[in-house]
């Protein structure tokens, strides 16, 4: 895949010690991508209850559930220098109990071990969705904006909670460098709502709304995680890709048909389809195509030294690449 190649061509981060990076949720598409980038320069240990197909030989994979005690063995076995937490479950069809036990209980377990084994670095992949799309949002949300994502969409409350738990870690364990990344809509081969939305044909939009949007390619997210792993980096970072564009321009790049539906109709129809399990989009996600939820990524550019490498066109087109 050309994108992952370009992502590995970077100059390596300034890590000198040979400790391993532990990646939770390594078998997700983003996790695999990150593993392929990182395993060339340092030891990579993956944790995921799924199996890792076409795993690079030198990546160690422990097929454990992060809620289980066995996770401790992975920490005990060795020399882990950094933990990257990608293993957030966001399956709108899964039950709230599942979500909570996985995202909140599982993550607390992970944090416990990070504290116990004095891991010097923790990178948590949160999302700009924790701010939530609202009509009263400023055009660019800074890192200290309130996390209102769960206000109209209760299913993502546990994602907000993960972010909050990680924030608590800043002062609970100041010797661990904690980094929270809040990327905007991730596009690419990943199976998330924004990518799936752009894979629709025709693409449905809400009549009379065309909010500005920010998107980021998965390779750029991997790049940001890579930068966050450098020693000395800590804090919360909004990560945005290329310059914001109206939603309609994104659709134009793909050259897809677009149908706009009045909001009231769209909501009713989507609710019906959702109940009949004909769509993967929960009705509250309609707000994402009505209101802005964009971030101010100044801090990521200045402190993290992040700049997107994939152009907007490539980013958008990448949703169609490698639908494996």
């Amino acid at each position: 895949m050309s994108l992952s190649v370009s992502a590995t061509e970077r100059t390596g981060p300034t890590t000198t010690t040979g400790g391993a990076v532990l990646i939770t949720g390594i078998c997700g598409r983003l996790g695999k991508h990150l593993a392929r980038v990182l395993h060339r320069e340092r030891r990579v240990v993956g944790v995921d209850r799924r199996s890792f197909v076409d795993k690079p030989k030198d990546v160690e994979h422990a097929q454990v559930d992060i809620r289980r005690k066995k996770l401790k063995d992975v920490f005990r076995a060795g020399d882990i220098e950094a933990v990257v937490h990608l293993g957030v479950m966001h399956d709108p069809r899964a039950s709230a109990a599942d979500h909570h036990s996985w995202n909140v209980a599982g993550f607390s377990k992970l944090l416990e071990y990070v504290a116990q084994f004095r891991i010097p670095k923790l990178v948590v992949l949160s999302s700009a969705n924790v701010y939530g799309p609202q009509p009263s949002n400023p055009q660019f949300l800074s890192e200290d904006a309130p996390l209102l994502g769960g206000q109209n969409f209760s299913d993502i409350r546990d994602l907000v909670e993960v972010d909050m738990l990680a924030q608590g870690f800043f002062w609970k364990l100041p010797e661990t460098e904690t980094v929270i990344l809040r990327p905007v809509h991730i596009l690419g081969a990943v199976h998330n709502a924004p990518s799936n939305f752009l894979r629709l044909d025709p693409i449905m939009t809400v009549m009379g709304f065309d909010p500005m949007a920010q998107v980021i390619q998965q390779a750029d997210v991997v790049h940001a995680i890579h930068l966050a792993l450098r020693p000395g980096v800590r804090g919360i970072f909004n990560v945005a890709g290329n310059e914001p564009v109206p939603l309609s321009r994104l659709i134009k790049v793909l050259g897809r048909q677009r149908i706009s539906v009045p909001y009231s109709l769209a909501r009713v129809v989507l609710r019906r389809l959702w109940a009949l399990r004909l769509t993967t989009f929960p009705p509250p996600e309609l707000d994402h195509i009505r209101y802005v939820c964009m971030v101010d990524d100044r801090r990521a550019r200045e402190v993290l030294g992040f700049a997107p490498r994939v152009s907007l066109e490539e980013t958008v087109r990448s949703v169609d690449e490698g639908r494996w």
Binding site: P135, P138, Q139, F140, P202, P244, R249, I259, Y291
Partner: protein
């Protein structure tokens, strides 16, 4: 099933879009006539004029706040007609507006925010170099379909302090009506009497070190004569106000009365101090601005010989 339905919808959609070449020709003619109209009203083509406006357009031709010059042109075509022909605006002292970041503080009146549109038209058509002003809109408007789209594309932003701050540091001109909905929905008996000013704009000006240009709008109060305001009904409908405007019931009275607008731009005022000062201290500074606008209004009213010409 869902996909078949949406495919069918898309087919109808594409048929509607692709079929009539006539419609496209009509649109082409409309665009041409807007170009002609703007050129006639401004004395130079729109493209030349907008090229002199400092805009932070991205590669997609839209600025980070969603302003699209193409949309701005259509909006301006309408507003230019109102500005030059319908309300025949007299603009005084527009040369007082300094370059770079500036806060325009104006009185708000007339039930419908035509005053804002005309200040925008004056800044684009009469100021040199031309400016596109940014106004802050009510959150409520952002949740309305089409309205929110139109507002963003012509450069209006949601009225939150973060947006104002960002625009000012970008060097934009920001229009603020500190009276807000209180001012615009005044009844006729309280015309040209300023209502209570919000304090936010002063904190913003001090914090970003931005000059304030007071603006007095004369002529808007008479465009729609409101005799009463039903507060409880407005609250019920979640609207900012519910004015009673008798002229709306007369055929043709739905249009605003063609009063003559007079815009007075005052000398820039600069304030220093601590933006987080106590309300009472900020209030004194706000009072200065309010008094300036009130005296500009009084002078403007005295000089006005007739409401309609």
């Amino acid at each position: 099933m869902a996909t078949t339905a949406s495919r069918a919808l898309a087919r109808i959609d594409s048929a509607a879009r692709g079929a009539p070449g006539l419609l496209r020709r009509l649109l082409g003619t409309a665009e041409q006539s807007i170009d002609d109209l703007l050129e006639r009203l401004m004395g130079e083509p729109f493209a030349d004029r907008i090229a002199r406006v400092p805009l932070a357009l991205g590669p997609s031709g839209v600025d980070p706040f969603g302003l699209d010059p193409q949309w701005a042109k259509y909006a301006l075509g309408t507003i230019a007609m109102l500005h030059r022909r319908y309300f025949r605006t007299d603009v005084h002292g527009i040369e007082n507006v300094p370059e770079g970041r500036v806060l325009l503080i104006a009185n708000h009146s007339g039930q419908v925010p035509i005053d804002g549109a005309l200040i925008g038209a004056a800044m684009f058509m009469d100021a040199e170099p031309p400016r596109i002003i940014r106004a802050m809109v009510e959150k409520w408007a952002v949740s309305l379909p089409f309205v929110s789209l139109l507002f963003t594309r012509v450069g209006q932003v949601v009225g939150v302090p973060e947006n104002a701050q960002r625009l000012l540091t970008q060097g934009e001109a920001l229009l603020v009506f500190p009276e807000g909905a209180r001012g615009i929905s005044k009844t006729f008996d309280r015309r040209y009497k300023l209502t209570e000013f919000g304090l936010g704009f002063m904190r913003l000006a001090i914090e970003t070190n931005t000059p304030i240009v007071p603006v007095a709008v004369v002529g808007a109060e008479e465009q729609y004569v409101s005799v009463a305001n039903f507060d409880s009904l407005a609250r019920l409908l979640r609207m900012p106000a519910f004015p009673v405007i008798p002229q709306l019931f007369i055929p043709g009275g739905q249009l605003p009365l063609p009063t003559k607008y007079r815009l007075w731009f005052g000398e820039p005022m600069r304030f220093t101090g601590d933006p987080d000062d106590d309300d009472s201290i900020i209030d004194e500074k706000v009072w200065l601005v309010k008094q300036t606008i009130q005296s500009m209004l009084n002078r403007g009213l005295k000089e006005r010989k007739h409401i309609f010409w």
